[in-house]
């Protein structure tokens, strides 16, 4: 993979953002706007997971923990303090960053399978703390009473349009930052570790340090996704931090393409659209989703973008 001019990424991001922001000027569709709001949270979540998984080869089963932590930290700060929204969001992401640094510091030395299990164990521990610590988190009923969505820079986030604009901007900036990480020297180092860790080690790379950095950054951006999710549901729920939610992110990564930067975001869009479309027609959503997953895993054997790039090499970026 040849180094990537950062300026091109910025241009693509700016164009994408302008298009997304322009759509409501021509046609207001609440369902489309909801979709983009949810997608922005989910895309950050899935793309951040791909930094350890696709880029570094560290399979984390517990990524939902940071998504949930971001949501809870943000929602609790908004409910319990008078902090302004951006300050609460930045603090929530900082808390998540610290948490993922701590969990990462404990876990990154373990080899692939054990790393997956221990991240899962941490997530389950976090989940059982959320459930048990009822006085703070509301337990299984979640944080109730809504998040006061204080105005920021003239943005009134209880208005759907403003929330849509806010989430789109945050998501595009977040993805751009992740793109920057993945094309930076750190990203290259991570891929080298993935492909051949002995060689990376001989070249003087301190493996655990690079891995810890990747894991921490991923946790931070998952936390940012969690903040957006909390804004959408106006609360925080233990399901955000539960195992099936980590599973969603993993599916998104696998469905969209593990080796393409935009793969996870595309996978997230497919999963959300599939969910929205299928639940309209049948209550047997699991049956349909299961068959789709099998088709990808056993049939195509790779995600959509990876498949396209393989099928039509010129389109590869």
């Amino acid at each position: 993979m040849k180094p990537h001019p950062a300026s091109r990424d910025v241009v693509i991001a700016a164009v994408a953002l302008i298009v997304v922001l322009a759509i409501p000027l021509f046609h207001r569709s609440p369902a489309f706007e909801d979709f983009i709001i949810r997608l922005s949270a989910m895309a950050l979540f899935a793309t951040s997971l791909n930094l350890p998984v696709g880029n570094t080869g560290m399979v984390s089963f517990g990524h939902g923990m940071f998504y949930g932590l971001g949501a809870y930290a943000f929602a609790l700060m908004m409910q319990m303090t008078d902090l302004s929204l951006p300050v609460a969001a930045v603090l929530a992401v900082s808390i998540t960053t610290l948490a993922s640094f701590c969990v990462g510091a404990i876990c990154v030395r373990l080899s692939t399978d054990y790393f997956a299990f221990i991240t899962l164990a941490f997530q389950m521990l976090f989940y059982s703390v959320v459930i048990s610590w009822q006085s703070l988190t509301g337990g299984d009923q979640g944080l109730r009473g809504g998040i006061p969505r204080r105005e920021i820079f003239g943005f009134e986030l209880s208005s759907q349009l403003h929330l849509y604009q806010f989430c789109s901007v945050v998501a595009v900036l977040g993805l751009l930052a992740l793109r920057h990480v993945s094309t930076s020297p750190l990203g290259q180092t991570l891929r080298m570790i993935r492909d051949n860790e002995d060689r990376a080690s001989f070249l003087g790379v301190v493996l655990w340090r690079a891995r810890l950095l990747a894991f921490t950054i991923a946790g931070a951006f998952a936390g940012l996704g969690g903040v957006l999710a909390a804004l959408f549901v106006s609360g925080a729920y233990p399901e955000l931090a539960d195992w099936p939610n980590s599973g969603q992110a993993i599916f998104a990564v696998m469905l969209g393409g593990i080796n393409s930067f935009l793969g996870p975001a595309l996978g997230a869009a497919i999963l959300l659209a599939l969910n929205d479309a299928v639940t309209r027609f049948t209550e047997y959503y699991g049956l349909v989703l299961g068959i789709v997953i099998l088709a990808f895993a056993v049939g195509f054997r790779r995600g959509v973008l990876d498949f396209l790039r393989l099928a039509w090499p010129r389109s590869s970026k």
């Binding site: 998984v53 399979v59 404990i106 373990l110 080899s111 692939t112 399978d113 054990y114 997956a116 299990f117 221990i118 164990a121 941490f122 389950m124 521990l125 059982s128 703390v129 048990s132 195992w243 599973g247 993993i250 599916f251 990564v253 696998m254 593990i258 047997y284 959503y285 699991g286 049956l287 989703l289 299961g290 068959i291 997953i293 099998l294 990808f296 895993a297 056993v298 054997r301």
Partner: protein, 299 residues
């Protein structure tokens, strides 16, 4: 937290005996389910995330078979055989296609199977929960052994679980098939190069793993509720057992299942609202101090 109650229990012989007995029962049932996961991982290096589904289907098959034949023994037998067959089909049709792929691909295939069969169960048996009820032969008062209470049904379950532990343990170490399986666990390419049909071997391993899960589901059906999605909590539990005991070690699974049984039995007295958290902390500690588990071979 209720450390006083825990202290009081630990100084009362009757309490220690009763809770230890119930820890033993919980542990043996856990072992029954987890044995299949650890066996499959040991040989194929595959984490069978669909194991809970095997267990669930085993329970439902037994439920229907009991309705049809009125014999609990036949119900258990048919659940075991049906799930052994299911295991082979699952292995041949799906899992064999993702051998050698990364663990995420295997996770995806298993999870797809979980999703599909949760819905299939809902279509076939309905969304409401079912209870099989205790077979008439076991509707007798509990036994009192050394101050501890042991229901006869659980006594039978413990004996069956112990027999399975012995048969698996001895089978793996003494028989030719067992030796081949162990060799395949270490180096399946070498075993294949020696002219042994590893395809057949892998199918057999999945048949045994599936059969064990079906057996566990059928044996648990009289005392547990059947509902779509019931496999999930079982999966998590057997997963924890397998990780703590050491992936692939039958003896390790037995020890760690009993360990968790004891944590649950005494945790419910000392930390009634944080027993689960306690188990995850044990799991994290084990993974950090001894990632290969209590009895696993170091990688």
């Amino acid at each position: 937290m209720d450390l006083d109650a825990l202290g009081a229990c630990l100084t009362t012989p009757a309490c220690v005996v009763t809770q230890a007995t119930s820890g033993l029962i919980v542990g043996m049932l856990l072992f029954l389910v987890a044995a299949g996961v650890t066996l499959i991982f040991g040989v194929l290096k595959i984490v069978n995330f669909a194991h809970g589904t095997f267990y669930m289907l085993g329970g439902y098959v037994a439920y229907s078979a009991l309705g049809a034949t009125d014999s609990y023994a036949l119900a258990v037998l048919s659940a075991t055989l049906a799930m052994a067959l299911f295991g082979v089909v699952f292995e041949r049709a799906l899992m064999s296609r993702v051998y050698g792929s990364n663990v995420l691909m295997q996770l995806l295939v298993c999870y797809a199977v979980v999703l599909i069969f949760d819905d299939v169960v809902k279509i076939v048996w309905g969304p409401e929960f079912h209870a099989m009820g205790m077979p008439p032969a076991f509707q007798v008062p509990p036994l009192f052994i050394a101050g501890g209470v042991v229901p006869p049904f659980y006594a039978v379950l413990i004996v069956i679980a112990a027999l399975i532990a012995i048969v698996l343990g001895l089978g793996l170490s003494m028989t030719r098939l067992g030796k081949t399986v162990r060799a395949a666990a270490i180096n399946s390419q070498m075993v294949s190069a020696l002219g042994i049909n590893t395809t057949l071997l892998f199918a057999i391993v999945f048949a045994v793993g599936g059969g064990l899960a079906g057996l566990a589901g059928a044996l648990a059906a009289p005392v547990r509720s059947l509902s779509p999605g019931m496999g999930f909590s079982i999966l998590i539990e057997s997963f924890i057992v397998t990780v703590i005991g050491g992936m692939g070690s039958i003896g390790g699974a037995l020890v760690s299942a009993l360990l968790i049984g004891m944590v649950r039995a005494f945790g419910t007295i000392g930390f009634p609202q944080f027993t689960d958290g306690l188990i995850y902390i044990v799991m994290i500690a084990i993974l950090l101090l001894r990632p290969q588990g209590l009895f696993g071979r170091s990688p």
